[in-house]
Every structure is written in C-alpha cells, then in structure tokens.
C-alpha cells in the first residue's frame, strides 16, 4: 500500500528519523509503536505530506507521492487530538471536509454509529473531548480510504465507542484496506494488529509481523514483547542496571528491506 | 420700475440744476462719441451712453456734478492700450457701464475707472473686466464704491493690479462689490475712516483685502474666499473687523486674516473656515478678539510672542488641526472663556465654565513651528502620547498661554 524507503529527517541538530524504512501491506493493520519522542508522529506526518523528509522516498500504490498531495485521496487521517474551530457546528466541519473532497465515495457507517445527526447543530466548542474524538474518527473513515492513519484513535473514547471503532477497523481490514495505527494500549493493538513497526530514537528497530516479533523475542504477548524491546533500549544508558544483557542487534532488527514484509 | 426711478432721479437733478439736460450717446442719441458728449456737458448734466462698444481715447470727466450713466450696458473698451475712464471733478456719479481691457503696462497704473483728486464721487453698479486695475481712488475724499462687479480672470500676478484700490482716499464707503481675480481684491493705503461692508472678494492672486496705514477703518460682513494669501492688515490703529467670513485661504503663506502691527482694535464675530492659518497675529497689541468662530483650519490662531496684551474671549474653536500656536515659551496674549472642541474637562458646579484649565498650545504645534518637516507626523499615535504627556507636565509649551475658564458649550 505505502512504502517508505530510508527516510531521514532532522529538526535542527536533532535526528528525528534515521534511515527509516517501512512498508504497509494492503489488507493489514500495522501498529506503529515506540516510546514517546521516538519519531512516530513525524513518520505519520511524512506519510501525510505534512512534513517533508530530508532524504528518502514515499511510494503510494507503487507511485511516488506527488508534491501537490493528490495521493492523499486514498488516505483517511485521524489525528491524536481533535481541534476544530470552536465556533463551527459539527455539521459545518463535516460539510467542509466533504466539500474539500468532492466526488469521493462516502461511508456513513461510523457517522450513524456515533449518531452524528444528533449533534450536527452543536458548536464544536461545546462538545466533550470524547465527542470531538468521534467527529475526528468519522472524518477519517468518511471517504472509504484505502489507507487509514490513526494516531491514538481510542484516546478519550468511552469503552462502547472504542469498541465500535475497533470493530470498524476490523471491517476495514476485511475489505482489504490498510491501517497504520499508533497506540499506547498494547492490548488493544494485540487484538487489531497484523504487523508491527517499532521505532526508537528515530530508528526502526523492528518491522515485521506480530507473529514474527513474538517468535523472535520469545514473549507471549505484544505488550511483553514491546516492553522487552524498550527495556533493552534503555539498558545501555543505565550502566548500573545489569539485569538485561546488552542489546545486540540481530539480523531481524535491522530495517526491513523493501518488500520484505 | 427702473424707468420710474430714472425719471425721479432726473426730476431731482433737474430741480437742483436748473437747465440740466441729458446728453445721449449712441443709437438714437445726439452724440456718436462719448468724448463729444463729455465736452459738451455742463455741471449737473447727465450723459447717457446707450448700448454699444465705444473705443475712444481715455475718457475724462471734468464737469462737476455730472452723472455718467450707461443704458443697456455700453462697453467702454480700452483696446489694451489705455485707461478707460477718469473722474477729475467733484460730485460725479458713474453707473451702469462696462469698462474693459485696459491692457498691461509697466509704466502706468491703468485703471478701468479712476477718480483723481476729487470729492464725493459715486461709482456704482458698473462692470469691470480684464483691466489692470479695477476702480482706483487716488487722493479722493468721501467717495462711494458700491455694487460693482470686478473680475480679472486668468491674468498673472505681475500683470495685475488691484480690484478696488484706495490711495490717500479717506472717508470712503466700499459696499456690496464683488471682486475676483485681481492681485489684491480691495486695497487701502493711507486711507483712514473707511467703511467696507458686504463685499465679496475672492480668488485674488494675493490678498482678498489688503490695507496699510489706514487708521480707524471698519470692515463688516465681507466674505473673503479662496484668496491666494488671504487678508492682510498692517500698520494701522483702531481697526474694527466684524462679522466677516474668511474662507479657504490655502498655501504656505496664506492666512485667513494676517494682522501685523495693528494697535488697538476689535476682531469680532468673524468666521475663519478652512484656512491654512486662520488668524495670524504679529507685533500687534490691545486687540480684542471676541466671538469669532474658527473651524477646520490648519492653525486656527497663530499668535507670535511679539504680540502683546491681546485678549481672546468667547471664541469657538473646532475641528482645527492646531488651535493655538506661538513661537516662544513666553506668551503675552491671554485666552479667557473660549470654547474648545478638544477640551474634555468637567463642570461640577454647572456654571457653564469648565473646572479645569485648557492649554490650547500642543507640544506638537511647537515642534512643528520649529521643525516644519515634523508636520508629517500629524495625528500619529506617538504625537498624541507626547501631547498628553506635555499637558500633564509642560516643558516646552508656554504655561501662560492657558484658558482658565474654558466654556462647556459653544457661545452663541
């Protein structure tokens, strides 16, 4: 679906991404995980074209991403936190996005499930964080995108709505569409993700299937596997902590070659 | 009606001058030239000039008590070569003629109508066009110049004389004339005890009214409009200037009314509207400036430090860029009980007089006085801030120049 090849990005003196490569398969949910500040958001923004990579290429459906951003037609994006102009009504926001993407097939499932019709006339400023997040989700799924980029999608959602959303993610996958998702809730990712990409300090430390990760780390759950990876990352810095042996990169930890996943 | 009046006039004249006759020039008259009629006229006669254009050598009236009258606006043409009409006898009346085209001369002051060394002449209801000088009273006493219409459009200043010019001609009455386009509209020099009323003097190349060395004159209800340099009044005493309008004199040296070395006098009830400088007072003293209206002038009143003992009361200042300015911290004129639109004090005892004093001289006005280029900052927020600061703590503006009893309502 999308392929990132040796992406490099610096902000000032900070190397945010160093030669990161990632491929998101069609019909798969790819979990992007990593500690805070590992470069996940920057990576997502590079995919969206909000941020430009210093080095590296982005291919969407085999085509290089165009500067004008027409490729974003296939993408639905749900940012971490929804901030809409507070004096717009929910209907205004939904109409604006719909009109910005004219002629695209629409999918009203989520709008129905989240009962958008009931809050269309409400001002965004009066909505609770969870309700805003629902609007946020509706916008992301509205155009039947073949790639969904979801940044902490269930944050702030009540359990019922979170379930509706997760169900929607599964149905998207069943339809052969792709999802790139970040979350801090590993158990949630466990039930959703097919592939996992682990970023740390701007480097892609693992990219592959969840099964492969479990097999390599010997852990039983994604949560434990990722926690193990994070512990290993921090170990060299904590010289007084001898508990875990120095993390030595093994072949599967090197960046996944193009098309390998 | 007109015929009746004329008849009455004839009867009156006839009664005074037994045997007075009408000498008619032109169509149907006994004379074909005015010169011939004037030669034949006897004191008290009436010369009637019928419509037509007359090109004759300068006409000189030498017969006392003669009435020289046009019928149907006869045109007396100077052919750009000579003066048109000269009154050289006492008690002569000239009316109803059109005197044109004296032409320009550097050697002589050619006038449309000149009165020379006479008494009691009356010049009324004439039209003067394209003359170097319009009506010129020269050493003529107690003359009347009224209801004349005098224009000299499109002539350069160096090629133009004054509209109504009085030189050593005391006791004159100048009334209801319209003058435009001359160098000075109305000019008095060494002509005291004159009365100038209800005239309109506009678009003069220099001053609408200009007088010097003419004491005890009275100027009332005149309108001076769009004169290049406004009105200038100099070196005279006991002048009364009341109920006139001074409008739209614009330019770097233009004044609604310029007073220079005037000793004692009254400036009252006048309106100064949209002049670069409304009233300019230099070297004058004991003037009472009262009940005037100053609106939308650049500088409403500029009172130089060498003017002393002048009092400003019951005047109304509104919409001026600067109300009062001066050239020094020492000020010798006083302001008391005027209305200022920029005054925003209060009146707790409701006696119609503001409880706090008003300082009409703004810091910025003083700055501009010293550095004219700073005018470009007029109405800048910075200037407002500086002015406000100066009002609280005067450093540069004359402290003495203050109105301690500013009015709350404009005087009627």
């Amino acid at each position: 679906m999308i392929t990132l090849d040796t992406i490099r990005k610096r902000f000032g003196s900070l190397d945010v991404l160093q030669d990161v490569s990632l491929a998101v398969r069609p019909g798969a949910v790819t979990a992007l995980v990593g500690p805070n500040g590992s470069g996940k958001t920057t990576l997502i923004k590079i995919v969206l074209g909000l941020t430009r990579a210093d080095v590296g290429t982005l291919h969407v459906d085999g085509q290089p991403a165009d500067e004008a951003g027409a490729y974003r037609r296939v993408i639905g994006y749900m940012p971490q936190a929804a901030h809409f102009p507070s004096n717009l009504r929910v209907g205004d926001v939904l109409d604006l996005v719909t009109q910005l993407r004219p002629g695209e097939a629409t999918d009203d499932d989520l709008a129905r499930a989240f009962e958008m019709h009931a809050i269309r006339d409400k001002f965004v400023g009066t909505l609770s964080g969870g309700t805003k997040q629902k609007v946020n989700a509706v916008i992301a799924f509205m155009f039947r995108p073949s790639l969904l980029i979801l940044d902490e999608p269930t944050a702030g959602l009540d359990p019922l709505s979170a379930n509706v959303l997760k169900e929607k993610i599964r149905s998207v996958r069943r339809e052969g569409r792709s999802v790139l998702i970040t979350s801090h809730i590993m158990t949630e990712l466990e039930t959703l993700a097919d592939d996992v990409a682990f970023l740390c300090d701007g480097q892609m430390r693992f990219a592959g299937s969840v099964a492969a990760l479990l097999e390599r780390t010997g852990e039983r759950s994604l949560e434990e596997a990722i926690a193990g990876l994070m512990r290993a990352e921090r170990a060299p810095k904590l010289s007084t902590a001898p508990a875990v042996a120095a993390f030595t990169p093994t072949p599967w930890l090197s960046p996944a070659p193009k098309g390998a996943v | 009606m007109r015929a009746l009046l004329l008849t009455l006039a004839c009867v009156t004249l006839a009664a005074r001058d037994a045997g007075a006759t009408d000498l008619v020039v032109g169509r149907g008259g006994a004379y074909t030239t005015i010169t011939a009629a004037l030669d034949a006229a006897k004191p008290g006669d009436r010369v009637v000039v019928r419509a037509g254009t007359y090109r004759e050598p300068t006409l000189v009236i030498r017969t006392p008590r003669l009435t020289f009258e046009g019928e149907g606006w006869p045109v007396l043409d100077g052919d750009a070569k000579r003066e048109v009409l000269v009154i050289a006898a006492d008690d002569v009346t000239v009316r109803g003629i059109v005197a044109i085209n004296t032409g320009i001369s550097n050697l002589e002051d050619r006038a449309g109508i000149r009165a020379r060394d006479v008494r009691n002449c009356v010049i009324e209801g004439n039209r003067l066009r394209k003359n170097l000088w319009g009506i010129y009273l020269q050493r003529s006493v107690d003359c009347v110049v009224r209801d004349n219409d005098i224009t000299a459009e499109g002539v350069r200043q160096t090629e133009s004389g004054n509209g109504i010019h009085l030189w050593y001609s005391p006791g004159a009455r100048v009334e209801r004339n319209r003058v435009s386009g001359h160098r000075d509209g109305i000019y008095f020099e060494f002509s005291s005890h004159g009365e100038t009323r209800d005239n309109v003097s506009e678009r003069s190349q220099r001053y609408g009214l200009h007088f010097m060395f003419s004491d005890s004159c009275n100027y009332e209800r005149n309108t001076f409009r769009e004169n290049n340099s406004g009105v200038a009044v100099m070196y005279s005493r006991g002048v009364r200037i009341a109920d006139n309008r001074f409008e739209r004199s614009w330019g770097s040296a233009a004044y609604g009314l310029l007073l220079k070395d005037i000793m004692g006098g009254e400036i009252s009830g006048n309106t100064f509207d949209r002049n670069s400088t409304g009233l300019f007072v230099e070297g004058s003293s004991r003037l009472s400036v009262r009940g005037n209206v100053f609106t939308q002038n650049g500088w409403a009143a500029k009172v130089l430090a060498d003017a002393d003992d002048n009092t400003f009361t019951a005047n109304r200042f509104s919409g001026n860029a600067f109300d009062v300015t001066t050239n020094s911290r020492s000020a010798n004129s006083s302001f008391d009980g005027n209305w200022w639109d920029e005054y925003n004090g209060y009146d707790l005892n409701r006696d119609g007089v503001g409880d706090t004093a008003f300082h009409p001289v703004r810091l910025f006005a003083m700055v501009v006085e010293q550095h004219p280029a700073a005018l470009l900052l007029l109405r800048s927020p910075l200037v407002s801030i500086l002015d406000a600061a100066e009002r609280v703590l005067p450093v540069l503006t004359p402290e003495a120049l203050v109105d301690r009893r500013p009015l709350m309502r404009p005087p009627q």
């Binding site: 993408i75 604006l96 | 670069s276 650049g298 919409g319 550095h371 005018l375 007029l378 109405r379 910075l382």
Partner: protein, 262 residues
C-alpha cells in the same frame, strides 16, 4: 466549490461568532456611537476613530491574528492531510482570518456613520478611514500569520507581534520625529515623505490625513505633502505602499506555509 472559498467560508463562520471579534466590532461601534451621542460632529468622530485605527487596530490584528493562527494549528494539519493543494489552503486560511478582522472593523466603525448619515464628515474622509482600516487589517493579519508560521514558540510569537506593534505605531514615528529635530536645518521633507511610505501605519495615516486635515496640509510642509499625497497619483503611490505592506508579508507567510513542516 474550490478550496479557497470553502476554507474561507469556514473561517468567516467561525470568527463571525468569535467573542473577541464581536467585542472588537462592538468596541468600535460603541466608541463611535458614544462620541456621536455626546454631541460629536462627524469630523471629530472621524479623528477619534483615526486614533483607534492607528493604535488599537494593529494591536488587535497582530495579537489576535497570531494567537488565532497558533490555535488553529491542529485543524490546519487536519486540512493539510486532505488531498488539497497547500497554496489554496493558505489563501483560504489567511482570508478566513483577515476578512473577519476587516469586516468587524467596517461594521463597527462604518455603521455609526451610516446611521448618522456622516454627521458632517466628508464622504472622502469616511471612505479614507474605512479604507485605511481595511488596508491595515489585511496587512497586519498577514504579518501575524507570518509570525505564527515562522515561530513555533507561541510566547515568542506573541512577543514578536507586540514588538511589531510597538515598532510600527510608536517607535518608528519617534525615530522620524528625532530625525526631524536633529536634522532640522536640512531640507528634510522629501526624505521624510519617503520614510512615511515604509511604515504601514504611517501610510494609512497619510491616506486619511489627505482627506481630513486638508487645511493644515495646505501650508508649509503640508504643501509638499499635499503635492505628493493629495493628488490621485500620490494617493496611488500611498495605496501601493500599503498594498506592498500587505503583499510582502503575505508572500513571506505563504512561502513559509508552502515549505514548512507541520
């Protein structure tokens, strides 16, 4: 419908309900109405409003504009994630800020004059004041947008906006005044006229002055001033200067928007 008008409409809808914008319009309205109420004539009200236009309007446009651009950051990112060109988005976002600012001013300052049928103020004066206010709104909204796009640190950005406000409204004229006093013996008029053109607040002031204080401008320095700015050519030059104060920051802001990472 095209992207610019869609985003602009959203901005108009949002800010027309923004309480600061509404308060801003009401403030102009209340002051103008208050001045009329207390017996102010049209020309007097015009002059009082000129002070607001030269002082308060730039402050509001700069500070409100900067904060607004910062606070719409996430929404802009959401819009940027849609398949629309950045250039059009930028124009829509900018106009969605600048037009409500200008509109609030026009309504607040213009309606009282309409109610009182000018009250003796010349039509040229009212038009010049409203025009100058709109010009300054557009220019300072562009500067604010540029600041917010250029500086990610919000506190720094708002500080910068305040700095620009102080510099353009007070400091610049202070320097000009200082120069006029220091070099008073030289013919300063022409250099100073040129200096007036390089500050948007001065250009706006100059444009209104040619309509309001004609008498003062007809004398002394004013003659040259009037010569320069009073003619239609001069007004054109001044308008062009104000326009460049709009276009230049807008161009810089636009370039920044096109190139920057969000």
């Amino acid at each position: 419908m095209n992207v610019i008008s869609l985003v602009l409409q959203a901005g108009l809808r949002d800010l027309s309900r923004n309480r600061w914008i509404v308060a801003y319009a009401l403030c102009f309205f209340a002051i103008a109405e208050g001045l009329f109420w207390f017996g102010g004539t049209g020309p007097q009200v015009l002059l009082s409003l000129l002070n607001l236009v030269l002082l308060v309007l730039p402050l509001v446009a700069l500070v409100f504009g900067t904060i607004h651009v910062y606070s719409s950051r996430e929404f802009v990112e959401l819009l940027l994630a849609q398949p629309v060109p950045r250039r059009e988005l930028f124009v829509g976002i900018y106009l969605g800020l600048a037009l409500p600012l200008a509109g609030a001013f026009i309504v607040g300052a213009g309606v009282p004059f309409a109610i009182h049928a000018g009250a003796g103020a010349s039509a040229g004066g009212v038009v010049a004041l409203l025009g100058a206010g709109v010009g300054l709104s557009l220019a300072f909204a562009a500067i604010a947008t540029w600041i917010a796009l250029h500086t990610d640190d919000r506190l720094k950005g708002v500080g910068l906006a305040l700095g620009v406000w102080l510099a353009t409204t007070v400091v610049y004229d202070g320097l000009v005044l200082g120069a006029a006093a220091a070099f008073g013996n030289y013919p300063l008029e022409r250099p100073l006229l040129a200096l007036m053109l390089t500050n948007p607040v001065d250009v706006a002031r100059v444009l209104v002055l040619t309509q309001l204080d004609v008498s003062a401008l007809m004398g002394y320095t004013g003659a040259l001033f009037q010569h320069t700015f009073g003619t239609s050519l001069g007004i054109g030059v001044a308008a062009a200067a104000l326009l460049s104060w709009w276009v230049l920051p807008l161009g810089l802001a636009g370039r920044r928007f096109l190139r920057r990472d969000f």
